[in-house]
Subunit: 417 residues, 2 copies
Amino acid sequence: MSLIVMKFGGSSVGTTERMGRVAQRIVDQKLQGHRVVVVVSAMGDTTDDLIDKSKEINDNPPAREMDMLLTTGEQISVALLSMAIHKLGHNAKSYTGWQAGIVTEAVHAKARISDISPDRIFKALDDSQIVIVAGFQGMTEDGEITTLGRGGSDTTAVALAAAIKADVCEIYTDVDGIYSTDPRVVKCARKLDVISYDEMLELAHLGAAVLHPRAVEYAKNYNVNLVVRSSFSQNPGTLVKEEAEMEQGIVVRGIAFDKNVARISVLGVVDVPGVLASMFGALAAEGIDVDIIVQSGVSNGTADFSFTVALSDRANAIRVIESIKSKVPFSELTYEENLVKVSIVGAGMVSNPGVAATMFDAISKQGVSIKMVSTSEIKCSCVIAAEPLQDVVRALHTAYGLDTEVAAFVGGPQDRR
Amino acid sequence: MSLIVMKFGGSSVGTTERMGRVAQRIVDQKLQGHRVVVVVSAMGDTTDDLIDKSKEINDNPPAREMDMLLTTGEQISVALLSMAIHKLGHNAKSYTGWQAGIVTEAVHAKARISDISPDRIFKALDDSQIVIVAGFQGMTEDGEITTLGRGGSDTTAVALAAAIKADVCEIYTDVDGIYSTDPRVVKCARKLDVISYDEMLELAHLGAAVLHPRAVEYAKNYNVNLVVRSSFSQNPGTLVKEEAEMEQGIVVRGIAFDKNVARISVLGVVDVPGVLASMFGALAAEGIDVDIIVQSGVSNGTADFSFTVALSDRANAIRVIESIKSKVPFSELTYEENLVKVSIVGAGMVSNPGVAATMFDAISKQGVSIKMVSTSEIKCSCVIAAEPLQDVVRALHTAYGLDTEVAAFVGGPQDRR
């Protein structure tokens, strides 16, 4: 008998009929003798509908009241899912975040979980209940209702799994597991049986939207066995754990790409000590996340910098750089959009020389020039023109021996909340 | 500076536009220097929509999960109303029932409030906040979410007013106040400036749907000054309080009628001691509320009983009586529908002889025969044929000197939650 956490996203419970299927899925696990804790997101469009309603009333609502509003979405889900399980003749009890003992920092809209007191969950489990917990939400020490921000339900599931020392935390989604790359782009993408936390973290950060990075980080910190699997099929999915064995001859585990990239170049920056700190400090102060930073060599006492930001931050970043020109003088400011960051990820890269060279070679063979490069021990990223993305990803997939003969299962739009 | 509780029903906040008007109304009170606590119901059809959704999943859902589901309706209301107040540039904080310290018995769907710990409300008031509390809900000592059943938001408002010792509890509705009778039936109905708790209780029980009896009872027990007024006009409304002064020459305060009446007659009941207890005990055990009971004189050792029940209980009541025939033998069982119970209510009746006689006289002058009569110190009820109801009520209204020259304001459908 295992203790299992099962997490279902909003699209898995998007209709009452789907809710019924999820209930059956949960009951199946219970009937196998497991003790089951379920975490659910808000149904389908519920959250968006609530946001729309709030905007009709106040286009800039207080974050506290927004949390109050949005947490009803998950509360509706847990109540209905519990009813669906009762309909199948099994005991279930639903809990809001605060009822489940999920304590967060005193921050609204993106609180972090600071503690979980699972007494009530254990009591219900001991009473043979299936326990259903609202994802995405918690309560501060002062009894204020909070939300965890994007990826919140994944984080709830992993944090609960850690707190109750669950044997496994199953993340049900509309894809079969983690793929070597987006199966909508590369038909012969390979479903991975296993992947390490670090690799998953890189893939998650790099735009593979199946698991939220915060949840993976949490899983890594508390050593929670994560399984990503489909809520529509019985396939075993992908296991995310501490150390993943390499498959024969495969150095690169997956290929990710991210179109949400703008490149900003600041040319002729007067090179005095502290220039970089001033520039990127000012960007950080405005909440702008900078990803890749490249500095070309200094000549005539000036240097050129390029860095990437999310598309939505581009205008703001330029404004910030212009605003500190008196402190950080430069000669020219340019930017570029229609870019993509392609990354190869694999824990085996560190001990295999030439992996990056293979990447550069495969990209250049597609007639595409590389604008920026960034590497770490387990990944190599290149910023290139957005087209022809598909050809580039396919070429990389083939070059690293990742192609399979079986066409991948591709579900509907993925859901991350 | 007063401490005021304002309660708004679901139709008052049925749309985001109405929500904005209610927000303005609240801010007006705040700007007059008052400290304001607001209680709100779920918006318009929200509760019905949630019930429909639950029925798609489980036609007999557990009460606990139903409470979990339905309390989201009020939580959405309080969050949105708070946003609407912020939009007007004022501070407001919304609270769920449990956050507001409302503790109930451990019963679902119809819990009674057992305690209120208003510390958090006072703290927010001291912080110049407008406090907005979700009606209809509370929490058990064990942290289970409960609902208060019909009239729940009225009860929340009155109980809160008692707990924080508010100067007044204003119940905003879509009528101008309490009328001497239904202004849709009698155009010249009189809006009452003042009415006593006991009179209001009789009127509330007798089908005047503006205030829920439980809320009035609570107000009476804790001596809370209640004001019933319109959320659409600035009229002063009706004050409900301990002792109401009589207006000159008016003995009867109001006339109520209730069409939800079925009469059941059990004829030829063998008259042995305990017969009544057996019959009405069996009905009570099935949760059937019996209203008026009339017993005719005993002849030949048998007696005839008539009693009234709600229309929806009629079939069930007959089944119960048939089922105990071996214990309570009778010769015949009949029933009658298409009836109405008309009542006159007034604290002055007890000291004015002939009040009932005036009623019987006015009814008989309409050619209507009286089937049952029931009296108390402050009311007299007659069960009569449902038609011509309007003529009867008008005749009584005139007979007791209640007519005014001003046509009454009649709002939309009333809302009681």
